[in-house]
């Protein structure tokens, strides 16, 4: 068992080594090929040749949109959990704030009756989630580890209850007729229509690429180094003169802003937002996705978010021995999490520095074992 695992592990390391030592143009070509693949993916003309990849139980393009939203969320949460090491169990709450901001400002069923176009509401949604991130972070970021996890979880649940129970947020009746993003084809048909989910998917995919470039730049800067120092040892970082609180707040706000963007996109596509869209389980799924993929590594977070969201939908419509597998999806999800953490706690595609830490820890002597 261990030998097989070792071999897999070393094989993966070899693959990683090969990637890093490949000439630059090869890496570029591969990257472009991968991106082109994902842009082409939702076209029926393309995906029908992909064998088992398209989902049998639901429209594949719609599923890919959901997946892309999860990827965007995973990229955002990765900043908070992966880089700054802050355990945020209520991340989906920010997604709700973003979606509800758009809904309140644009929907005719809102009490404000502002009826803004979607595009105008998006920056407001992002700004408001950022502010709510700072507002939540200021009192709570002094707490550490598990306490922070619990408080953020409580916060997300409070947002959900407020959404269900307050008159202003309309509860389960929700907001309908939220406008779509603008744009028209030459013949006057809207680009972002009701039936075709592909433009939404392409929009999210493009934004993911932009966000990833931004996050990459950020992590390679002073801010990113500060985050990593906080993750590794907060006391030492403070001692070395890193204003830890300020940078933790930054991580929180940046992560929240990305979730707000995702929420705004979701509202623009879905047309209808109500309290049923924001279950606590979603926060947990996203956190699990980031750690599953490899927290601290952007590629890992993307793979984790995409894979988890996709797998959950992929179970739909499969029958095995007369049992609908979809019913079992969360059972599998739970078991996979446990198995994964036991055999590969650093995630599928770990951050190199973190993987080294894990290795160190494994070797560390503990008494009484």
């Amino acid at each position: 068992m261990t030998t097989v695992l070792e071999r897999v592990r070393s094989g993966r390391e070899a693959a990683g080594e090969r990637w890093r030592s490949a000439p630059r143009w090869v890496r570029w070509a591969l990257l472009i090929a991968v991106i082109a693949f994902f842009y082409a993916l939702p076209n029926r003309e393309f995906y029908q040749y992909l064998g088992p990849i398209p989902t049998p139980g639901a429209n594949f393009t719609q599923v890919m949109f959901t997946v892309s939203i999860y990827v965007l969320l995973a990229v955002g949460l990765n900043i908070v959990v992966g880089f700054a090491g802050l355990l945020d169990l209520g991340y989906f709450g920010f997604f709700a704030v973003g979606a509800y901001t758009v809904a309140v400002l644009t929907s005719p069923s809102s009490d404000l009756k502002t009826l803004w176009p979607w595009l105008l509401a998006v920056p407001v949604a992002i700004a408001l989630t950022m502010v709510s991130g700072v507002m939540l972070g200021t009192p709570t970021l002094r707490l550490r580890g598990d306490y922070l996890a619990l408080v953020t979880l409580g916060f997300a649940e409070m947002i959900r209850i407020a959404a269900v129970s307050s008159e202003f947020l309309k509860g389960q009746r929700g907001f309908n007729q939220i406008p779509h993003p603008p744009g028209q084809y030459a013949d006057g048909r809207p680009v972002f229509g009701v039936l075709d989910a592909r433009p939404y998917y392409w929009l999210v995919l493009t934004l993911i690429i932009l966000v990833v470039i931004g996050v990459r730049n950020l992590t390679n800067s002073r801010v990113g180094r500060a985050w990593i120092s906080i993750r590794e040892d907060e006391d030492a970082a403070q001692l070395m003169g890193v204003p830890t609180f300020k940078f933790k707040l930054w991580a929180f706000a940046a992560g929240a802003a990305i979730a707000g963007l995702a929420g705004a996109l979701f509202a623009g596509k879905q047309n209808f937002v109500n309290s049923q869209n924001f279950e606590l389980l979603n926060s947990i799924i996203i956190l699990a996705a980031v750690i599953f993929g490899g927290s601290g590594n952007i590629v890992g977070a993307i793979v984790g978010g995409g894979l988890v969201a996709y797998m959950i939908e992929r179970f739909r419509g499969i029958e095995l021995f007369g049992v609908e597998l979809y019913e079992y999806r969360f059972l599998f999800f739970g078991v996979v999490l446990v198995v994964m953490m036991i055999f590969r706690p650093e995630g599928l595609i770990p951050n190199r520095r973190r993987a080294a830490e894990f290795k160190d820890r494994r070797k560390e002597v503990t008494v009484g074992e």
Binding site: A58, R173, R198, P199, T206, Q276
Partner: protein, 387 residues
């Protein structure tokens, strides 16, 4: 280096976008089976078949199954296939499933969506695709006000059931002190609001609880109801919470009868409350008792599904029959079937059907019945007059 990365990715993105929109130009929106084959057509059922709100969905799907089964026996050479779409009652999943149905040009009509929330999310897609939907149970009034050309329902909306429930409390139970509880769902709160309007000052208190299985401990509500010393309690919501509330009310010594809407009209309510506590509960429904349904519906249903027809089994059966009548009539394109349903008028097992503006069932046809839990079973009590 970084700039190059940005430029390269941007270029690739642009290229793909252009390629994508080109592909979209010729591939987008292609749906209707233009040739309109007479045979091999499908209808779909859209609703919760698994998950916590599946009981109603299964009732309905079984009703549709019976209709399709009968149709196929009568037309063995030209069968219709039933496609179940399991939404779990969640608006999140509704667009993906709706699109799935739209993608299949052989699917000519939908029975569903079963719940109001998923109807809100899926409605625009069906409307855009011109795929006709007949819901047997989504009763939110606003659904018919959205300008969807493809929306029809074979039951009365909350505006017909709520006042009826209120009238029953006022005229039959003659209760002068009533407590109103709802679960804050679109359905439950809507119903509770209508009841409050009818009862006016007789409502001595009201409270809200959390639905969808999120709350199981109702001591706060129970304490208030007990202190209010009422003669009847109205609950707007679904059977899960209703059962628990009834059980805990009885345990606390509150004997006032519980009155609730069709969301509670389910055998699972009695198991959850316990037969003793559930005894005497009044359940209203803008539907007729299944046993009163004309013809041999109840026996046939039991023979096929092995259980008695439940709430909305009959309306789902009727909805399916409307679609099947159209298909039999040769309306085998989506637009033809839509036209057919719009002008349909005919008799089903639960009511006589004719649709008015917005796809609403003709108000003259809406009948609201009261059911009573007696001896551990939901039995028909009486039809409630509308005013």
């Amino acid at each position: 280096m970084r700039q190059k990365l940005a430029r390269a990715i941007g270029g690739a993105a642009l290229l793909a976008l252009v390629a994508g929109s080109a592909a979209c130009g010729n591939g987008g929106g292609g749906d209707t089976a233009a040739d309109g084959d007479k045979c091999g057509n499908k209808i779909a059922f859209f609703g919760a078949l698994t998950g916590s709100s599946a009981a109603l969905g299964i009732n309905e799907n079984n009703g549709v199954k019976l209709a399709v089964d009968k149709y196929n026996k009568e037309n063995p050479d030209c069968k219709v296939e039933l496609v179940p779409l399991d939404s779990q009652g969640s608006p999140d999943q509704a667009p993906g499933l709706a699109q799935k149905a739209i993608d299949d040009p052989k699917i000519l009509g939908i029975v569903g969506p079963a719940y109001s929330g998923e109807s809100e999310a899926a409605g625009p897609l069906f409307n855009e695709a011109g795929l006709v939907t007949i819901t047997p149970s989504a009763t939110r009034p606003s659904l018919s006000e959205q300008g969807w050309k493809t929306f029809f329902r074979v039951v009365g909306n909350d505006f017909s059931q709520g006042p009826a429930a209120g009238n029953y409390i006022k005229n039959v139970l003659k209760a002068e002190r009533v407590y109103v509880i709802d679960d804050q769902s679109a359905y439950g709160a809507g119903l509770a609001d209508e009841v409050k309007k009818v009862l006016g000052p007789a409502v001595v208190g009201s409270d809200k609880v959390q639905g969808e299985g999120k709350q199981t401990e109702f001591s706060g509500v129970v304490t208030k109801v007990k202190a209010a010393n009422v003669q009847a309690v109205f609950y707007g919501g679904y059977y899960q919470e209703a059962g628990l509330i009834r059980k805990q009310l009885t345990a606390a010594g509150v004997t006032a009868p519980l009155v609730a809407g069709d969301g509670v009209n389910d055998a699972a309510y009695i198991t959850s409350a316990g037969a003793a506590a559930a005894e005497g509960t009044i359940l209203t429904c803008p539907c007729q008792p299944a046993t009163e349904a004309r013809g041999t519906f109840a026996q046939e249903y039991k023979a096929l599904n092995g259980s008695d027809p439940g709430t909305y089994s009959d309306t789902a059966y009727d909805a399916a029959n409307i679609l099947l009548a159209g298909i039999k009539d040769g309306k085998t394109t989506r637009s033809a079937l839509l036209e057919f349903v719009k002008n349909y008028s005919g008799e089903g097992v639960a009511a006589t059907y004719k649709f008015v503006e917005g796809g609403e069932l003709d108000p003259a046809q809406v009948k609201v019945w009261a059911f009573k839990v007696t001896g551990g079973k939901v039995v028909p009590d009486q039809e409630i007059p509308k005013s």
